[in-house]
């Protein structure tokens, strides 16, 4: 203890995270002190202010390279790129969450999460027009965790931020207003499996500490370079640590939770999970592998190849027989995790920048796609069964075309952002010596394109079903969120240069 020195903390470099943290705490206080009638709008304002503040902070910080809080956090190009992405995704998700227009039957969230599904309590709450306003602070805490996750420069901070982002998500999954049993089941499943994977992560962390005698990523890297330690500990630790992160990105064989949880969760939360969580977890994965274990590329590549191939194949193969649009998008998100893994495995600068770019394009398109899902409705909530979507494009061409655009982007058709992203990642894979992996990627992309296009065919060429779902006129918030996704999807498809440059400049990691 005698040699204790206060760590220096560069508070300005942490401004994005501080903004989000402050907004989350203000959200808690709003729930405590603001009268019920004003709570919902006050929460929206606080959350959006925090997110916009964080985005501005990221913009101001651009170009910073610093390791702060006694090497616990690294604020560098990739961190800021990912934090900016997460802030934008946060704004998109908050807008989806915020929409309570009458067309959406009072929002996507339970009147009171604690009331028994189907009870008189629940009915009374819904009739009184109540809604669980804690959604916003929970969401902001999750965003906080996601912002710290890719910035973490040591394994303990990595673990803490993993938990900070996970715990609110478990809760949020159980808050659906309709089909609440399904939603609560999803929450419990996610929690149990998430805890399970956290245990793996923690065990891996402990083994790595045993190996290197430090939890800092640079320290571990230094230990791997000397090669004078116990390799068994290193690889056991690396494997178990990876399980924790692969679980969060939804890579096979740790993907089983994805379809069930995405399906059960309220759709705005699904949008948030499928986009922001994936971005944050990939950020952390990239940092761990590029900083600590880059020197061991030859050793971990075979296992990583296996995971990537399995993920791409499982994701695109399972998606083919899904009859529910939400589940199909869930499997598609698994497949995309596999595609991004190709960029991770490339283990070079273009692999890093390609992955960053892919994350941005994929996640924004995903927010938009789930946003559209909230609009297609039956009397008892969202109509997600594929058969209900027949002829939808003919009855409401605008929504149909927008969704078709998102699907084309997910399929990676040129002139959409998805193509540019896929191209960046795959070309990085080829230059990183992973050509067979890229071939698998291209084949599975073709399989994936089939089920995306099947939905488009359903929407535009099948006869509309009688008494088909209503396409709700989106409230301003949802419309804004979807419009943002459309704009980004098109602009990054046609004119991706500035953002590609930005991703290029963001690399490499600073530690």
């Amino acid at each position: 203890m005698s040699d204790f020195h206060s760590p220096s903390i560069a508070y300005t470099a942490l401004a994005p995270m501080l903004c989000i943290g402050a907004a989350a705490i203000v959200g808690v206080l709003i729930d405590a002190f603001v009268p019920r009638a004003l709570r919902w709008s006050a929460q929206i304002a606080a959350a959006l202010l925090g997110l916009v503040g964080a985005l501005i902070a990221v913009a101001v910080l651009a170009g910073t390279h610093t390791v702060t809080a006694d090497t616990a956090l690294s604020i560098d190009g990739p961190t800021l790129f990912l934090q900016g992405t997460i802030a934008v995704l946060g704004i998109g998700s908050v807008l989806l969450v915020a929409d309570r227009s009458p067309a959406l039957d009072g929002g996507a969230f339970a009147a009171q999460a604690a009331s028994t599904p189907g009870s008189a309590d629940e009915r009374a709450g819904i009739q009184a027009g109540r809604i669980q306003t804690e959604v916003f602070p929970l969401l902001m805490f999750a965003v906080l965790g996601m912002m710290i996750f890719p910035a973490s420069n040591d394994l303990l901070v990595l673990f803490v931020s993993l938990e900070v982002l996970s715990l609110p998500l478990y809760l949020l999954c159980g808050l659906a207003r309709r089909r609440r049993l399904l939603s609560q089941e999803a929450a419990v499943k996610y929690f149990l499996l998430g805890a399970f994977s956290s245990a793996f992560f923690l065990y891996g962390l402990a083994l790595l500490y045993g190996y290197a005698g430090t939890v800092s990523l640079s320290g571990i890297q230094a230990a791997t370079l000397t090669g004078q330690h116990n390799d068994t500990l290193l690889f056991l630790g690396l494997g178990l640590l990876s399980v924790g992160m692969l679980f969060k990105i939804g890579a096979a064989p740790f993907h089983n939770w994805v379809p069930d949880v995405y399906h059960g969760a309220p759709t705005p939360i699904t949008a948030f999970m499928a986009s922001a969580t994936k971005v944050a977890a990939f950020g952390a994965l990239l940092r761990v592998f590029y900083v600590s274990f880059a020197g061991l590329g030859w050793e971990w590549r075979p296992a990583a190849w296996g995971v990537a191939i399995l993920t791409m194949v499982v994701g695109s193969l399972f998606a083919v027989t899904q009859t529910d649009v939400k589940r199909m998008l869930a499997y598609s998100s698994v497949a995309h995790a596999g595609f991004i893994l190709v960029g991770v495995i490339a283990l070079n600068r273009s692999g890093l920048s390609g992955s960053l770019f892919y994350l941005l394009t994929y996640s924004l398109t995903t927010v938009g796609a789930f946003g559209v899902l909230t609009l297609v409705r039956d009397p008892d909530g969202e109509a997600t069964h594929l058969s209900r979507w027949a002829g939808l494009g003919r009855r409401s061409p605008v929504i149909g075309s927008v969704f078709a655009l998102f699907l084309l982007a997910l399929a990676g058709i040129p002139l959409t952002s998805g193509f540019t992203g896929k191209f960046a990642v795959f070309s990085a894979g080829v230059s990183g010596g992973a050509t067979p992996l890229v071939i698998v990627g291209v084949i599975t992309s073709a399989i994936a394109a089939f089920f995306y296009i099947r939905v488009i065919v359903m929407m535009f060429f099948a006869e509309p079903v009688a008494d088909g779902p209503i396409v709700a006129t989106p409230g301003g918030a949802t419309a804004a969120s979807i419009a943002m996704a459309v704009a980004v999807t098109i602009v990054l498809g046609v004119f991706p240069q500035p953002i590609l440059d930005m991703a290029n400049h963001a690399a490499p990691f600073y530690h």
Binding site: M1, S2, F4, S6, P7, I25, V28, L29, D31, A32, F33, A114, T116, T232
Partner: protein, 116 residues
């Protein structure tokens, strides 16, 4: 490598041995006290509580206790090393206590402390 394997084998072996030996060797005489939950929770009952789900009041209080318990765990070493941590330690601890206090205020305002 070998020490780990030996340790694992010993650990698994001891657990399996204990369970088997206990069930074979121990006398089996049950009474009410023996069948109750060990040192925690409320009385188990065959049906849910008065036809509803379990009341969560007990758990709520328990969780609040844990929050403050953890706060104390942090405060105690900090207090011991206060002189060495200096101003930095004071500021960080105030921030931490403030965050916990916000949560406390939330629980209080939303009726988490009312028993009925």
């Amino acid at each position: 490598m070998i020490p780990i394997v030996v340790l694992a084998v010993l650990g698994v072996g001891f657990a399996v041995f204990s369970i088997i030996a206990g069930s074979l060797a121990g006398p089996k005489r049950f009474n009410k006290a023996k069948l109750e939950s060990y040192e925690c929770g409320i009385e188990p009952s065959p049906q849910a509580f008065r036809g509803h789900r379990f009341p969560v009041k007990y758990y709520l209080t328990a969780m609040l206790f844990i929050v403050f318990d953890i706060e104390i765990i942090f405060l105690y070493p900090w207090a011991v090393a206060f002189n060495k941590l200096g101003m930095f330690g004071l500021v960080e601890m105030i921030l931490f206590i403030l965050a916990v206090f916000v949560v406390y205020a939330y629980v209080w305002r939303r009726g988490g402390l009312e028993w009925d």
